[in-house]
C-alpha cells in the first residue's frame, strides 16, 4: 500500500507538471461549457414557446423537465468527450516508462508489478474524477435557474455512470499504453478501441441473432445510457467491472511480459 502511494504521488506530480494536463482541462471545460450553453438555451427556447402556446390557445402547459431536456443529453455528450480524453490521459502511463528507460528503475526496485499497475490506475482515475467533477458547476447553474430546481437523483446516477465509464475504460487505455513505446500510437489505438466499444451495439439495429445480441451487450453506450436516465442496474455495474477486470489483468500480464520479452 505504501509503495502504491509513493508511485501514485509521483504520477500525480507528473500530471500537474505537464502542460498536457492543463490543456486537457481547459479544452474539456470549454467544450462542456459550450455544449451546456447550447442545450440549456434550446431548453429555454422550448419553455418560452410552451408559455406562448399556453397564453395564446389556453392549453395546459406540457411538463418541461430540465432533467429530460438538459441533463440527459448533457451526460451523453460528456461521455463522448470522456472517450476522447481517456486515451490522452492513459497514453503516457506505460509508454514513456519504456521509451525513456525508467521502466528499468521500476523493474529493478523492490516493488511488485501489481503495485505499479494499481498506482498508475489510481492516479489516472484521480485525474479523471477531477475532470468530471468540474462539470458539477453546470448542474448547479441549471438548478439555480429552474423552478423548483432539478431532480438530483438522475444527476448523481449520471455521475456514477461516468465514474463507471472511467473504471471500465482507463484500464483498457493503460493496457494499450503498456504495449506501445510510442505514446502517439497508444493514443490513437486506445481511441479507436473505445470508439469501437461505444458504437458496436449499433449493429443490433439492423440485425438479430446471438452475435448481434452479444455485440449489443459489449457496447458501452447502452450501459451508460441507463445511468444517465437515472436507472442503476446491477447488470450494468457488473458489465463495467468485468471490463475493468479484463483491462487490469491484461495490463498486469503485459508489464510482467516486459521482464522476459525485454523493453
Amino acid at each position: 500500500m505504501k509503495t502504491i502511494w509513493i508511485i501514485f504521488k509521483r504520477e500525480i506530480g507528473q500530471f500537474f507538471s505537464s502542460a498536457i494536463t492543463y490543456i486537457m482541462l481547459a479544452i474539456f471545460l470549454a467544450i462542456t461549457g459550450f455544449l451546456f450553453y447550447n442545450i440549456a438555451s434550446y431548453f429555454a427556447l422550448q419553455c418560452s414557446q410552451a408559455l406562448q402556446y399556453k397564453t395564446a390557445y389556453n392549453v395546459p402547459l406540457p411538463p418541461m423537465s430540465a432533467n429530460r431536456w438538459v441533463i440527459l443529453p448533457f451526460f451523453s455528450n460528456i461521455a463522448i468527450i470522456a472517450l476522447f480524453l481517456i486515451p490522452v490521459l492513459t497514453m503516457r502511463s506505460y509508454s514513456t516508462e519504456r521509451s525513456s528507460g525508467t521502466a528499468e528503475l521500476l523493474l529493478t526496485s523492490p516493488i511488485r508489478t501489481t503495485q505499479i499497475v494499481w498506482a498508475k490506475l489510481l492516479s489516472n482515475f484521480a485525474i479523471y474524477i477531477i475532470l468530471i467533477a468540474t462539470t458539477i458547476i453546470f448542474q448547479l447553474i441549471l438548478n439555480y435557474y429552474t423552478k423548483p430546481g432539478i431532480d438530483w437523483g438522475p444527476v448523481w446516477s449520471g455521475y456514477l455512470g461516468l465514474i463507471c465509464l472511467g473504471i471500465a475504460t482507463i484500464p483498457l487505455g493503460q493496457f494499450i499504453s503498456s504495449l506501445m513505446k510510442n505514446q502517439i500510437i497508444a493514443v490513437f489505438i486506445s481511441f479507436a478501441l473505445l470508439l469501437f466499444l461505444w458504437i458496436v451495439d449499433w449493429s443490433t439495429l439492423f440485425s438479430s441473432g446471438t452475435i448481434s445480441s452479444l455485440l449489443g451487450y459489449i457496447g458501452l453506450s447502452k450501459h451508460f445510457a441507463n445511468f444517465a436516465k437515472g436507472v442503476i442496474n446491477t447488470s450494468d455495474i457488473i458489465y463495467f467491472i468485468s471490463l475493468a477486470t479484463i483491462g487490469i489483468f491484461l495490463t498486469h500480464r503485459s508489464v510482467e511480459s516486459w521482464r522476459w520479452r525485454g523493453i
Binding site: T3, I7, G101, E104, L105, T108, P110, I111
Partner: protein, 313 residues
C-alpha cells in the same frame, strides 16, 4: 554466503546467442570489472544479475539469493545504474532521489540523512533543485549514480559508470567506486582499459558472450606474457650497442626506439638478460643510462586475448 556466484548463464535474443555459458564469482567486498568491446554481452550480464532480464539458462546467486527463484529478494540488496540512467525528466533532482529512496524502502527517518550523503558524495549541490530535463549529461550520470547508492545496497552494479563525464569527474567517480569496494560488492562494466586497471580488484575479459580470461590486472598481464622486454639506453655508438645486444643469449628482437641510442630488447624469460646487458656494458666500458623492464599492460592483454578469439572463429 555473501558475494556473487554466476553459474552457466546463457541468454538468447531470438536466435542470437548474447551470452554463452558464462560463469564467474565475485567475493564479498570485491570490485570486478567486466571488460569487453561493444556488444560483448556486458550489459546483458548485468541486466540478468539485476533481475531486469531473465536468463535463457543458468542462474546466479547474489548474497545467497537465486536470481531466478527469489528475484524480489535480490532487488532488495542491489543498486543498479544502467548505461543510460533511468531518470524522470519532469522531476527535480532532490525530489527524484527522494522518490527512489522511498521506492527502495529507506526508512523515513533516514531519508534526509541519505539525501545529504548522496548530495555531497555525488557533488549534486549545484543542480539539487533543478529539473532533471535541464541538467547536463554528466550530471544525469551522477544523479543515476546517486540513485544506485542511496539505499546503501550490499551489491552495486554499474554499467559504464564514467561514460559522458569530463576527465576530472571520471577520476573522481573512479575514486568513489574504489572507496565503495570493501563494504560493497561491486560489478562494473567498461570498455576503457585504464579504468578497469585502476579501479578493479579483478577483471573479466568478455567478448562475443564468453569470458575469455579472469584475474587481477597483473595476473592477466603475466598470463599472456610470452616474452620479457627491457628498454635499454647506453652511451656507446648505437650500431655497436645493437650488435652487442643481439649476441646476448635469449634475445629475440631488438627494436629501435624514439632516439637512436634507445632500444627495446625482447628476450625469452628464462635468460637473465638484464644481468648480461650489464656485463656487456662493463666489458665495453659504456655507461647504462636506462634499463627498464617493460610490463605488458592490460591493453596488450585485452587485444591479445580478443584477437586470438576472433582469429579462431
Amino acid at each position: 554466503m555473501a558475494g556473487i556466484q554466476v553459474k552457466n548463464l546463457v541468454k538468447y535474443y531470438g536466435k542470437f546467442k548474447a551470452l554463452d555459458n558464462i560463469s564467474f564469482e565475485v567475493e564479498q567486498g570485491e570490485i570486478l570489472g567486466l571488460l569487453g568491446p561493444n556488444g560483448a554481452g556486458k550489459t546483458t550480464t548485468m541486466r540478468i544479475l539485476t533481475t531486469f532480464l531473465p536468463p535463457s539458462d543458468g542462474t546466479a546467486i547474489i548474497d545467497g539469493f537465486d536470481i531466478t527463484e527469489k528475484p524480489s529478494q535480490v532487488r532488495k540488496i542491489i543498486g543498479y545504474m544502467p548505461e543510460n540512467p533511468p531518470l524522470y525528466n519532469d522531476m527535480k533532482v532532490c525530489k527524484f532521489l527522494k522518490f527512489v529512496a522511498k521506492l527502495k524502502n529507506v526508512s523515513s527517518k533516514k531519508i534526509a540523512e541519505k539525501l545529504e550523503y548522496v548530495e555531497n558524495v555525488c557533488k549534486l549541490e549545484d543542480v539539487w533543485n533543478n529539473y532533471i530535463m535541464h541538467i547536463s549529461k554528466g550530471y544525469r550520470q551522477r544523479v543515476g549514480f546517486a540513485s544506485a547508492i542511496i539505499a546503501d545496497p550490499a551489491v552495486l552494479i554499474f554499467d559504464e559508470p564514467t561514460i559522458g563525464l569530463d576527465p576530472k569527474q571520471i577520476k573522481y567517480t573512479r575514486e568513489i567506486i574504489k572507496n565503495l569496494g570493501g563494504d560493497h560488492t561491486v560489478i562494473l562494466s567498461t570498455h576503457i582499459l585504464p579504468e578497469a586497471e585502476m579501479t578493479c580488484d579483478r577483471v573479466a575479459i568478455i567478448n562475443r558472450g564468453k569470458i575469455l580470461a579472469i584475474g587481477s590486472p597483473t595476473e592477466l598481464a603475466q598470463k599472456i606474457r610470452k616474452v620479457d622486454a627491457v628498454r635499454v639506453e647506453m652511451t656507446g655508438p648505437s650500431n655497436e650497442v645493437k650488435n652487442t645486444l643481439l649476441e646476448l643469449d635469449g634475445v629475440i628482437h631488438i627494436i629501435p626506439q624514439e632516439r637512436h641510442s634507445v632500444f627495446l630488447v625482447e628476450f625469452e624469460p628464462k635468460w637473465k638478460t638484464r644481468e648480461q646487458i650489464t656485463k656487456a656494458a662493463l666489458e665495453h666500458n659504456w655507461s647504462i643510462l636506462e634499463l627498464t623492464p617493460v610490463e605488458a599492460s592490460l591493453e596488450d592483454v585485452f587485444l591479445e586475448i580478443v584477437s586470438t578469439q576472433e582469429k579462431s572463429l
